[in-house]
């Protein structure tokens, strides 16, 4: 049985930041990630981030990932377990982890669950054909491995991910036939949407996919216009000659461990699905288990890093670690988070968080 002060599950933006903050206060940290690299989904984000300087505006996700991962791997207070999958957390406070087909038992004093999210799918005939991917899946294929998913893409969903991935497909030399969006307006930031429109990609709002075509792979798609009640308008169908369909219809939090650990969960559509109740310190209803990032509610990488920082500081502080400016550090992060979630863009997140923050 391995002992550790703080165990963090997930080495994405939230988990890495949590590890660095907790270690900076003096805590001894074990970071577990199922991949053979650190950085989570940041490693495929080639676009520049928004926000203020503190939020790493104008940096690309790929460079943030590298910087955080390097800092974590070179930190003597942090023990990193890669290709290691957390299997379960038990009542006696033991976490089971699988690595190289062997079981490792870890007994952490505090646990931070930063497991991220998973892409949602959409119901339509033939939605299981090869050639239909989550938009993030295609982003990984193109930006991490330099491989195209096909030649001509229909992007379903005009939120940030759909529009950004469409642009990144164009950069990779893949044609994007259209972006469709069921809502009457584009969900992404205008700066991203105008880039793809300038590049000649049409965005059809009030449209959804009716079906995919193909025998063993995608060979085409039929899209249809929606009326004011989101119902398909008969006769408005259009066939698109595409060999790739990307679904960018949101993510849901990966919360299996939190459920299994007995954390009280609540269904909050604004946050992408079931999420754990938490206090202002990001501690769940099971004392000693904290959560941060997309696992706590789907947001963006910037928010995940700030939540990770808070969870790391709070978990370390609960073990007696302190710093003269600890409260100032926390206040500063909370202020930045409030700033990030302000305005009309953050309205949905604020509404969601109000339902789960006790």
């Amino acid at each position: 049985m391995r002992q550790t002060e703080i165990c963090i599950i997930g080495g994405g933006p939230a988990g890495l930041t949590a590890a660095l903050k907790a270690a900076a206060l003096g805590a001894e940290v074990t970071l577990v990630d199922r991949n053979d690299y650190l950085g989570g989904q940041l490693i495929k984000q080639t676009h520049r981030f928004f926000g203020s300087k503190e939020q790493r505006a104008s940096e690309r996700g790929i460079s943030i990932a590298k910087e955080l991962a390097d800092a974590v791997e070179s930190n003597k207070k942090i023990n990193v377990l890669k290709k290691a999958t957390a299997l379960g957390y038990y009542k006696d406070g033991v976490l089971l982890v699988e690595q190289d087909e062997k079981i490792i038992k870890i007994k952490p004093k505090k646990l931070i669950v930063a497991t991220g999210g998973a892409e949602k799918t959409l119901l339509f005939p033939n939605n299981d054909l090869p050639g239909i991917y989550g938009a993030g899946a295609v982003q990984t294929l193109v930006n991490v491995f330099g491989v195209k998913p096909g030649n001509k893409v229909l992007m379903v969903g005009a939120g940030n991910i759909g529009v950004i991935v469409s642009y990144q497909l164009l950069q990779a030399g893949v044609e994007v036939a259209a972006i469709i969006e069921a809502a009457p307006q584009i969900g992404s930031y205008w700066v991203h949407a105008s880039k793809v429109v300038r590049a000649g990609v049409p965005i059809y709002t009030r449209h959804t996919i009716k079906r995919a075509w193909g025998d063993t792979e995608v060979e085409g798609a039929t899209i249809v216009e929606l009326d004011d009640n989101w119902q398909p308008i008969e006769g408005s169908e259009k066939d698109l000659d595409v060999d790739v369909i990307c679904l960018s219809v949101g993510l849901s939090p990966l919360t299996e461990l939190l459920w299994q650990a007995g954390c009280q969960m609540k269904y909050v559509p604004e946050l992408g699905g079931h999420v754990p109740l938490r206090n202002e310190n990001l501690e769940t209803t099971v004392p000693g288990i904290y959560t941060a990032g997309d696992a706590a509610g789907i947001e963006e990488a910037s928010a995940a890093m700030m939540e990770g920082a808070l969870a790391g500081i709070n978990a370390a502080h609960s073990l007696g670690y302190d710093a003269p400016d600890l409260n100032k550090q926390k206040e500063k992060i909370l202020m930045e988070l409030t700033g990030l979630r302000s305005g009309p863009v953050g309205e949905k997140i604020r509404r969601g968080l109000a339902k789960v923050t006790c």
Partner: protein, 101 residues
């Protein structure tokens, strides 16, 4: 299906290796995922669904959804979106749940 030029990224590739897909010899790069190597060769179908025998391919590409399970070196239920390619690997379409041998 490989990207030749990219305005931001340089793709660092490992050693070129041979592998086998349903008996067919193909080339890929060591260190990329099996799924990426198959896509680079224009192959997108990976398994058959268990009950309806429908073709299935990659969906999440981060080791979460189980859509891309294949038989790799005789081992079924391998997530080819996260399993890295190695010289001489034998990759096969998975039909059914896979058998423990």
């Amino acid at each position: 299906m490989r990207i030749k030029e990219h305005p931001i990224l340089n793709f660092e590739k490992g050693r070129k290796v041979k592998f086998y897909y349903n008996g067919q010899e193909l080339e890929g790069y060591e260190g990329e995922t099996i799924a990426a190597a198959l896509h680079a060769n224009g192959i997108r179908g990976m398994r058959e669904s268990i009950r309806m025998h429908r073709p299935r391919g990659l969906f999440c590409n981060i080791g979460n959804c189980s859509s891309c399970l294949m038989i790799v070196n005789g081992k079924p239920n391998t997530r080819v979106c996260v399993e890295k390619l190695k010289e001489g690997m034998v990759v096969e379409t998975q039909r059914g749940k896979g058998e423990l041998k």
